[in-house]
Symmetry: C2
């Protein structure tokens, strides 16, 4: 059973679309709020944790990427920039203005220092786990350590390394896939098949993620053996999220069949709605630089297009259940989803009783 | 509510792996048994229906493909055969022995005649619906007409044409995808996201398919709004299925991450376990002849390999939940799944009560 928070609902960390406000609203409603840290400096993380602790006494989750930084490959990165040169010309921009550097940092000694100092209740990872030494330091703080599995093999790998819970991320999920033992997106099962197999394979609690956006999804995940559920996309239209205007518009216009897995924005597969960039260059493209080095080349194009109100060059991260999302206060949504879940389970129980 | 059979469980029609025996066992257990007709002659169908009616008074489902036959393209088919020439050489076979003709036939005037004569309670279609005239004739027999949707757009299309129920087929499902408004496999959502969106979009009952192999999956589908569930792969290890030895072995060895969508066997995407043929030529290959004309070239290779006990050139159709399947009598399995479903729903209801 789930004992960490009143409701078995985790708000998925969504880098670029949220800060502490969303986290606090979910925590105060009885769910587990999260903050995405991959694009934060240690100082910014310290400030965000202080802001959360000032606003709520409830537990919360800080989420990090645990990838191995790639060896920069100047010729590959230049070739990628050259491929996007036609867009730079169209917009009257100079490819020399492409952003430099990785844009996203993995969990490291500095961030670990912030964890040791601030002791958040839950520390979760995406793309595997940090090295043994860092992991031991996080555990020594007393934090619950979670990570994401996209296959049974990944769940077993995480379980063998002592995580306290596993997030089973179905193929439906929006944003970056947590995959780390394979880079083959065809090997990524849907949640309906993945979740019970992960539950059977490991002894720790399993948190279901992907395609869950209302009480029906939460109830379904509980039936499949989840201890809790993680919801992302459905929070993106809330006033507490910092979702951009073009992203909100895409979520409202999107359909069940208009998201794709794409590596065009960062170099790793992530799910978002189709736009011109995906249609013309992807959605997957083997020439994209290694994660996260594909980020720089698109940055000026995205900024230019967004300034003109266009999301055609933006990552429009979204799970496959985006059409179920509503404009709704994040706290009210969290409570509503749980009320729906309980009513639904009770009603199906009545119908299926002998 | 589901009133057609005692249990809201439909046995998925699986051409090539079953005949009336499996159908009868499921019907007698209180589920809805099915017979796949795409590879039958009208006479064989007549005989199978007679065999079912002799064995059970319960309703059953006959399933047809509703594709538009392709215009044969001799040069494309020859090029495909040339591509497989290396395997013919390896096996000492003559490419001239490749099977001719389509191998699978769409629903037509002859089959419609059998339906009018035998009046099965349910007639279901894959790949859309037959033409208006044939559809009207089937409806005039009093049969319930079902078809498969893989997206909300397909569900709306079917609903507008007056189907009595829609099978929402998640990406997890084994065998041929029923997709007919798109040929883009990236546009195929997982069941967790697809099912509630289809339920919201149409007024007819929705039957959930894909990744369901035990009571957990059935309970989850009911929570997502399904009126019933369709189970395929989990029946393939039953003694009543005619699953080949190499196929059974693949199902027992397969994992959550070892199925792929492939068009190599028929020309249309279908989910099956990886083998040498998929690894070397696919899993998807744009050069494959149009459905079902890719079938002929692989037939002698498959037969030769299977004779030697190898499934490396066989379609090893499987959904993503294959590891949940057990060797079990099909009737006992049907009852067990429903008992599990009811117990599980009752137990979660108890846990989520205030």
């Amino acid at each position: 059973m789930w004992a960490l928070t009143e409701l078995p609902i985790v708000q998925a960390p969504m880098a670029g679309s949220q800060g502490p406000k969303l986290c606090i609203a979910v925590c105060e409603a009885g769910g587990l709020g999260s903050i995405p840290c991959a694009m934060l400096t240690p100082d910014a993380l310290r400030e965000q944790i202080a802001e959360i602790r000032f606003a709520t006494k409830a537990p919360f989750n800080v989420n990090f990427f645990a990838h191995t930084p790639p060896t920069p490959d100047a010729s590959r990165e230049q070739a990628w920039l050259d491929r996007l040169r036609l867009y730079y010309a169209e917009f009257g921009l100079d490819p020399a203005d492409a952003a430099k550097g990785p844009g996203r940092a993995p969990f490291d000694d500095f961030m670990c220092g912030v964890i040791e100092e601030t002791r958040p209740p839950v520390v979760s990872f995406h793309f595997g786990l940090p090295d043994q030494n860092l992991l031991a330091r996080v555990k020594a703080t007393g934090a619950k350590v979670w990570s994401t599995a996209t296959t049974v093999a990944e769940a077993r790998w995480l379980s063998a390394r002592g995580v306290d819970a596993i997030i089973a991320q179905g193929r439906e999920a929006g944003g970056h896939r947590g995959m780390f033992l394979t880079d083959d997106i065809d090997a990524q099962p849907g949640l309906m098949a993945l979740l019970p197999q992960v539950v059977d394979a490991v002894d720790v609690p399993v948190i279901a993620a992907g395609g869950i956006a209302d009480g029906r999804g939460v109830a379904a995940a509980l039936m499949l053996g989840a201890s809790a559920t993680q919801i992302g996309t459905a929070y993106l239209l809330s006033p507490q999220a910092s979702t951009s205007a073009v992203h909100r518009a895409a979520l409202e216009a999107g359909r069940d069949d208009t998201t794709r897995l794409t590596n065009l924005f960062t170099g790793r597969p992530a799910r978002g709605h189709l736009n011109r960039y995906l249609r013309e260059q992807g959605p997957m493209n083997a020439a994209a630089p290694a994660f996260p080095l594909a980020t720089g080349a698109i940055t000026p194009l995205r900024a230019h297009a967004e300034k003109a109100g266009s999301g055609e060059f933006s990552p429009l991260w979204s799970g496959e259940a985006a059409p179920l999302a509503r404009k709704e206060d994040a706290g009210a949504f969290t409570r509503r989803v749980w009320d729906e879940t309980r009513a639904l389970v009770a009603s199906v129980a009545k119908r299926t009783r002998r």
